[in-house]
């Protein structure tokens, strides 16, 4: 079977990436709070901020590249649904993780 072109794959990757932060936070929470802990509670904050920063960066990159490629290479009937279903959630996620990083570091 032929793989879809990159301008179709990027939006799907951008959407799939949104699972990563929530999975990472759940794993971190379990590692810290389930007995016996496998991650020290002192390491919780650096890990949290690292996950937020990586999630924000990844979402901006995947969402941005996907949006750009769709606008450049797709016909409207393909681009619009993918923008709404994949790119907008990714960019909203990017903005959310960025905002959460600033809130969790008491900067805003």
């Amino acid at each position: 079977m032929r793989r879809p072109p990159w301008h179709i794959r990027w939006p799907l990757i951008a959407l799939g990436f949104q699972l990563v932060p929530w999975l990472a936070f759940h794993l971190l929470a379990r590692a810290v709070y389930l007995e016996p802990p496998s991650v020290s509670i002192d390491a919780e904050r650096p890990w949290t901020l690292a996950i937020l920063a990586a999630s924000a960066g990844g979402s901006w990159i995947f969402g941005g590249v996907a949006t750009y490629l769709l606008l450049r290479r797709s016909r409207p009937r393909v681009a619009i649904p993918l923008l709404l279903l994949c790119c907008v959630p990714s960019l909203l996620g990017a903005a959310f993780y960025t905002h959460a990083y600033l809130v969790f570091t008491t900067r805003v």
Partner: protein, 230 residues
């Protein structure tokens, strides 16, 4: 679409998303400096034995604010396997003897943590300033906390969505807003979230009932500020 229009459209969509998120969650606050008198106040927070994700979220949100805006901050997460009663009481006792003003954040479902504080000497308890309790139906503890020595108590009357209020409240109280104003503003913002949840659930969530149950109510001094004394 051409390269430049595609780049501009991508940037515009990113900016629109950047504007939507703070509007839907919480706006950046202008005043984020530490109010005066940080060295004269301490805060203690305690989280009950909930799911790992809830414990994680509570601590990661709360502790940075307490550490930045208080001279001393202690945070306890209860675990089913061991009692932290002695550790918690010792921390409250130490803070009450060393700081003129101590704020207590009880992040626990309906609870009787008041008993852990009631055993402390009356003279020390007088330094207890603000007690915020997220516990459902724990508003009724207000008069007891004031009798123990707290200057102000905030609680919720019913089975509440108190975490929504708490996220707004902690950010406003620590930045120096008067207690009455911080509670009023945080209630109003939480109510908007409940209205939105009611709308997107097509009425299966009764927003008016959630508001009535979740409204934070102050007992005692409503004019407290974080920089104020005991």
């Amino acid at each position: 679409m051409g390269r430049i229009p595609a780049l501009l459209a991508t940037a515009a969509l990113g900016l629109a998303c950047t504007a939507i998120v703070p509007a839907a969650t919480d706006v950046p606050l202008r005043e984020v400096e530490v109010p005066a008198g940080r060295e004269h106040r301490a805060a203690i927070a305690i989280r009950d034995d909930v799911t790992p994700f809830q414990k994680f979220g509570s601590r990661e949100f709360t502790l940075p604010y307490l550490e930045r805006y208080y001279g001393q901050a202690r945070y306890f997460t209860l675990s089913g396997k061991r009692s932290q009663f002695e550790e918690f009481s010792a921390a409250v006792s130490q803070a009450l003897t060393e700081f003129p003003a101590v704020d207590l954040f009880v992040l626990a479902h309906s609870n009787q943590l008041i008993r852990w504080v009631a055993i402390l000497p009356e003279e020390d308890r007088r330094r207890l300033r603000l007690v915020y309790n997220t516990g459902c139906t724990d508003l009724k503890q207000g008069p007891e906390w004031l009798e123990l020595g707290a200057k102000s108590y905030i609680g919720h009357a019913g089975v509440s969505f108190s975490p929504v209020f708490y996220v707004y409240f902690l950010r406003r109280w620590t930045r120096g807003m008067e207690l009455n104003e911080a509670v009023r503003d945080s209630n109003a913002r939480a109510f908007r979230i409940f209205d939105a949840l009611g709308a997107i659930s097509f009425g299966s969530l009764d927003a008016e009932r959630v508001k009535a149950d979740s409204e934070a109510i102050i007992f005692g001094d409503r004019s407290l500020r974080i920089e104020g004394g005991p």
